[in-house]
Structure formats: structure tokens, C-alpha cells
Amino acid sequence: MLKPIELNNITEEHILGNWRVQSKILNRSDPESPFATAEEHHFLKDSIYKTLNGEDLLGKWVLFLETDIIKSPLLKFTLKNQAVNTIITLLLYTDDKEHAQLTIYFDTGLELVLLKN
């Protein structure tokens, strides 16, 4: 059973791994962006980020908390020399840490629900 992780307690360890897209809400302004088309998102060590099964790209990812204005943790991507900010709205994990669900929200309105297992 998936249980929510307190947003303030999210660490990089939680994000690391290969995630596949379970569902997404596309934005009208940029539905063809690499984030919207990729079926897999790999968050690797040393901040390496990869998108697969869409437009296969290599970039960077950084996690940081900005609790003054926004309580949710921020995930910052750098892809094709462009920085894209997102927020984590939900992170669920099973007790054995084998399964997880991550929801990230882009400033464009794109929302991705990712699964790890």
C-alpha cells in the first residue's frame, strides 16, 4: 500500500531511480515538449537526467526546498541548455520502498504522474 511522504522530508534518495509515466495532464501551450512526450524519466546520480521513449535527451536535475514561499520541494531540470522549474505535489512510497509514485507539476501546467517499481 502506497503511503504519502511528508513533502518537507523528501530527499534525493527518494527521487533517484527510473520512473515511467503512468498518467499526465498536458499543457495547451507546449504539448510537444520533451517532458510531455517522454515515457520514461531517469533520475541518476551526479544529477544526471535522461528522458527515454520520446525524445531521448540528457540533462541535469536538482532537488531543493524553498519553504519560505512554496512549501513543496522544487525539482529543477536543465535540458537543451534551458532551465525548467517544477514542484513535487505528491510522493507515495510502499513500506518496503519497492514501489513509489511521484507527481510533478510544471509551470506550464503540465503534470506528470510517475511510477517506480
Partner: protein, 284 residues
Amino acid sequence: MSTKTIIDAKQNTYKGRNYITIAALVIMCILLSFAILGYIKVRAVFTTNQKVINANRVLFLNQEINSQTKDVVIGTRGYVIAHDSSYIRPFTEGRKKIKIYFEEITNLTAADPEASTLINRLKKLVDDRITISFLIMEIGGKNDQKSTTAFKNVFSKANALMDDIRSTSQELQEKYEAIIKDSLLANESNLRNAMIIFIILFAFINVILFIIYRMFKIDITGRIKAESDLRNTNKNLETLVEARTQDLKRSYETLETKVTFRNLELEKLNKAYKEKIDQLEKRN
């Protein structure tokens, strides 16, 4: 639910109640009949027991009358033979006792005409025998030829009376022994019937109590289950409402965060555009 359905349901409930009332009345009547029947049988046992006690008393008094009559006769003989007045005492006491016994036995047998006839006959025979005893004592005291002849005649008559007394007494005894035997048989039958009636009554009451117990148990069990179900439903509902409230709260917070985040990003964009426009203006 329509008005007609409600009226029908109410009528059915009243019908059901009427049936239950009728059934209860019938059961009460049956129970009452059994109880009355049982009471009659038990009362018959007590009545017959009293009859047996009376019959035994009659037998005892009959034997006592016989015995006292013999004492009277023996006392008379002793006086006549020994001319000793001490023999008069059993004679006198015997007479008194016989009188008392006859009074009691007459009362006890008053309801039975056949027995009363026998008692009257016995009383007359015993009285005659006592009268002859007086005569014997009177004649026995004289020692002449005439008295001797008269003594023989009287003695012969006395013997005949004693035989009659014995046979009448025997008849009375047989009659009352038969009454006791019949009464005991009737008692046995009455007791058996009363026992059967009370066993049936007891079993019937037990069955009714069991049915009532089952009815109440089913009713109470159903009510307890319904209450438990209702409690569980309420609890589930409360949990559901709580969960939904939490979901809504989380959704609202998420939405709020999303809006803030987008506003921030828009501000950044605006700032960037502004800087770009400023740079273009400076170039121009």
C-alpha cells in the same frame, strides 16, 4: 412507499396481532383445561384417600365391637362360674365402649345405606346379646332345676346371637375391605392420570416458554445486529468523511501551491522580459 402500501402493511400488522391474540387465547384455554382436569384428579385422590381412612376406621371399630362383645361374654361367664364380682368390670367397660364405638361407626357409615343397615342389624344383635348376658348373670346365680333349664335355653340363644354377630361383622368387614380395595385402585388410576396431565401441562408450558424465548431471542438478536450494523455504518461514514476532508484539504493545498508556483514563474518571466525590453530601449 405509497399510502396504499402503508395502509396494507398496517392492516397486515393488525391481522398478525389478531392471530397472535387468538392463538394466545386458545393456548390459555388449553392450559386452563389441563390445569382444571389435573386439579379434579388430584382432588379425587384426596377424596378417595379420606374414604380409605374412613373405611379403615370402620374396619377397626367393627373389630373392636367384636372384641368388646367377646369381653362382655367372657366377663359374664366368669361371673356365672366364679360368682366373682371382679368379672363384672370387663362386662361394664365393654358395654360402655361398645356404645361409643357404635356412635362413631354409625356416623362414619351414615352416607352408605347398605352399611347403615348392617350396622343397625349388628347393633341390635349386640344389644340383644348384652341383654341375654344380664339374663345369664341373673339365672346363673340361682342353683335350682328350673333355672338350669332356663340357663341352657338362654345360653343356646346367646350362642346363636354370637354366630349372627360374627357373620354380620364378617359381612361388614368384607364390604369395607372391598371398598378399600376399590378405592386404592381408583386412587392409583387417578394418580396416574393426574401425573400424565401434569407432565403434558409441564411439557406444554415448556414448549410455550421455549417459543417465547426463541421469539424474543430472534427479536433481540436482530435488533442487536441492526444496531451493530448501524454503528459500523456510522463509523465507516465518519472515516469516509474524514478521508474525503483530508483529500479535499490536500487538493486545496496542492492547488494553492501550484498557483503560487506559477505566479512566481510568471513573475520571473515578466522580470526577464522587462530586462530585455530595457536593454532594447537602451540600444535604441
